[in-house]
Subunit: 482 residues, 2 copies
């Protein structure tokens, strides 16, 4: 029996037939990332049912030198959960570990296994008068383990922080098969390095998250969604500061988009209409929220905020959602930007951030620069102004062949955008991570000191290099694309 077969037999003995498959039909959906940019091959797909099974499997992989690609909902944006095409790695699906182990109403926290789907958690805590304060487009497939491993963001980071801020306890299997268990949520604990912080956002390259204790917040009693037209992105930033000063923690979201992007969305979504009568260079969507402790003042807060902003010349026109249906309609305009743009034709997308106060200037600088360098393209920036995070999309000139353009000009444009944002002290990945998509860019543009530090940590924690190889961190420091 070859070593490979010995491994597979031992893995099947450990996991049972439900826990291990080599059936190509069953594996096929999980070998390509959901955006269809990366396709790989796998020796097998393992679906352990418990932390002990994950630990046993990781130990087995170590003994046999088998690489492991951990996978949650397979809805990542950077190919971080797709194996390479060698067919020597296994996919380690965490989807069977989908128990919500406990929900603590008094303590406002829940212990979830890695495979719990985000929307499932939302729905589990809602009837109990609580909410989990992170959401994003892929909530129907994204898992808690994947969200932690990528330190996911979304539209509520402005107030609640990214996934890192929601994790108060963590359980993970390390490269040697040992289980790091820190699920007890201690609000204060200074017993040395905060190891869970190292695992959060490490994309499965340092360990495999198996469960987490997550913080919950009281359910919303009400929300008010405001739509404002402003003459520039700088004006939007001034409006944001005004909102922060007046609304404090009641401000939960502040999203922006230019008029032409809004036009595309309105044209794309059946029945959609412009929230404001006139036209404005930029539009801001502002969400104010209240729990039962302050719901009585939400209406007056929204009105005072707009009145004072108008008085101070911070906006040209604005409207407050008059009911929940209108609030949802406003948010739909934001959520449909990506689909509307996809309908327009091929584009390259960049999830970038700079310091919040520099974002207006950056966009004003970058949009004309890119459009001039690549005639016929249209550069569009929209998103989370409150987090200094825009999605900077560059749409191809009409009529180009998609794949060829993506591989040629598209790639060159991305390089330029990443160089630009690096010059501005920003990040080439604000919330989507690095995966395989941006690994070469990170190796090329990242701070050499930070890269060396990451390599040292990776080598120390995964000396065999079996945890999600080819993702995030480049171990060969001389190779730009290792």
């Amino acid at each position: 029996m070859s070593d490979r077969n010995t491994f597979l037999a031992a893995a099947e003995a450990l996991l049972g037939s439900r826990g291990l498959t080599r059936d190509s039909d069953l594996m096929e959906p999980w070998l390509t990332d959901w955006r269809g940019r990366f396709t790989g091959a796998a020796l097998a797909m393992a679906s352990p049912a418990s932390t002990a099974e994950v630990a046993g499997l990781v130990r087995l992989c170590g003994e046999h030198g088998v690489a492991i690609v951990p996978q949650g909902g397979n809805s990542g944006m950077c190919g971080g959960a797709t194996p390479d095409d060698s067919g020597t790695a296994i996919i380690l699906s965490l989807r069977r570990m989908n128990a919500i182990r406990s929900i603590d109403q008094a303590g406002l926290q829940a212990v979830c296994e890695a495979g719990v789907i985000l929307q499932t958690l939302h729905e589990a805590v809602e009837p109990l008068g609580m909410r989990f304060p992170l959401t994003l487009g892929g909530k129907g497939s994204a898992t808690i383990g994947g969200l932690i491993s990528t330190n996911a963001g979304g539209t509520q980071v402005l107030r609640h922080g990214s996934m890192r801020a929601q994790v108060s306890g963590l359980e993970a299997v390390l490269a040697d098969g040992s289980v790091f268990s820190a699920l007890v949520p201690l609000k204060k604990d200074n017993r040395g390095f905060d190891l869970k912080q190292l695992l959060i956002g490490s994309e499965g390259t340092l360990g495999i998250v198996t469960a987490a204790t997550l913080r919950l917040v009281p359910a919303l009693a009400d929300r008010a969604v405001l739509w404002a037209g402003v003459p520039s992105l700088r004006a939007a930033r001034a409006l944001l500061l005004h909102c922060q000063a007046l609304a404090g923690d009641a401000l939960e979201g502040f999203e922006v988009m230019p008029q032409n992007t809004l036009d595309d969305v309105v044209a794309h979504v059946p029945g959609a209409r412009q929230p404001l009568a006139g036209r404005h260079e930029w539009h801001a969507l502002i969400e104010l929220v209240a729990d039962r402790s302050n719901v009585d003042r939400l209406g007056s807060l929204a009105e005072d905020l707009l009145a004072s902003a108008f008085e101070q010349g911070l906006l040209e026109d604005a409207v407050i959602s008059s009911n929940e249906a209108q609030a949802e309609a406003f948010w739909l305009l934001r959520d449909e930007i990506a689909p509307a743009e996809r309908a327009k034709g091929p584009a390259v997308q960049h999830d970038i951030s700079v310091a919040v106060e520099k974002m207006p200037e950056f966009v004003e600088h970058a949009v004309p620069l890119v459009e001039a360098a690549w005639p016929g393209t249209e550069a569009v920036a929209f998103g989370h102004l409150g987090d200094g995070n825009v999605h900077f999309h560059v749409i191809a000139p009409p009529g180009v062949e998609s794949l060829a353009w993506q591989a040629g000009d598209g790639k060159a444009i991305s390089s330029q955008v990443y160089e630009l944002v690096t010059q501005w002290g920003g990040s080439i990945s604000a919330e989507h991570g690095i995966g395989q998509l941006k690994r070469a860019d990170l190796a090329r543009l990242g701070d050499p000191v930070a890269l060396a530090l990451m390599r040292s940590v990776k080598l120390a924690l995964d000396p065999q290099g079996l945890l999600n190889p080819g993702k995030l961190v480049s171990l060969d420091k001389d190779a730009a694309t290792p």
Copy 2:
């Protein structure tokens, strides 16, 4: 010239005479920790004036194999900034690097060098309508670098989190003299491992923090301090949950102390008096705050909160501070607990935490257990109930000789308390860190997986072991007291 003299000559050439001293009078105050528990010796004390000088010095130390003990205000609780008695290490004082590099009012953040004293930062931002939301007893000496290296806590963690939550950017010198620079505060940045999280709380064993970008919050417009008498610590916990549900983010502090501790404070502080007429098993100090966005409702919130708590039988008696002087008087009773206890005689102190919901049960279990095991002692728990963090002090029987008792029974009591808190899934160090004081206890009681992980990281980042040796992490895994 010996190697030692070569090193000293090179260090002086690098730092100038102001930057390096071997004068024993100048060094003496910095060779003993402020509680007087540890005294060491040093080859010299370096006081670099810039990050570049720190980097040069660390490189020099690496070349000559000289150990480095970083030091801020020297007001740590665990001997983390005191060298051993070999006299071969240098003290690296960060106190000369005390510039507030910038304050950004719109962005609510400040860039501070490591040597900035906490109170100096408080005073610098106050006239600008902002505050830095972390404070503690040692604010007049504690430095930003030391607070970051120990992930300091304090009385506002309930709402604002510990020091980790205040750091949005970091600059540090690593063991090889390279400078890790991530001062630009990106609200979203997913370019791999969050390396600054690794440095925060690592007590100078992985790198030397030289500067940080810190978040600020709007100044308080007003506060209301409530004092409540409750029949038990469980009742205090129920009152805490009630406050969290009703006051939300307006709840900034929730401290508890037993009646006998309050009696000691009132007896110790001239002019102090009991806030309530009657006697109660436990007392809670509750701080509600408002900035200008919600100051109008602070008074009614405080009244509603007490009225509904009283109605629901959550407290026996309570009073709201009628003015700022009374608010300060209430806080003084909390702040004077430690001095009042010191006046009573020798004691051993334990800064411990368990999950918030378990704290009442833990204290009810631990106090009689310890007092029965050590006849004549008095066990007292007080502090940050909202953080699951109590300071558990055991006061010696009357008349014992202090040093002998500390070294004998005191030590044994501490071992027992740490074993107990570990059995309860808690932490032997909630907010003070490990330093040299608790290193043997951590090696003995810590999770072996976490300890092994810490050792791997330490070896990877500081292979020569020159950064604050003998603190926090034990490199020899077989030695309980390495």
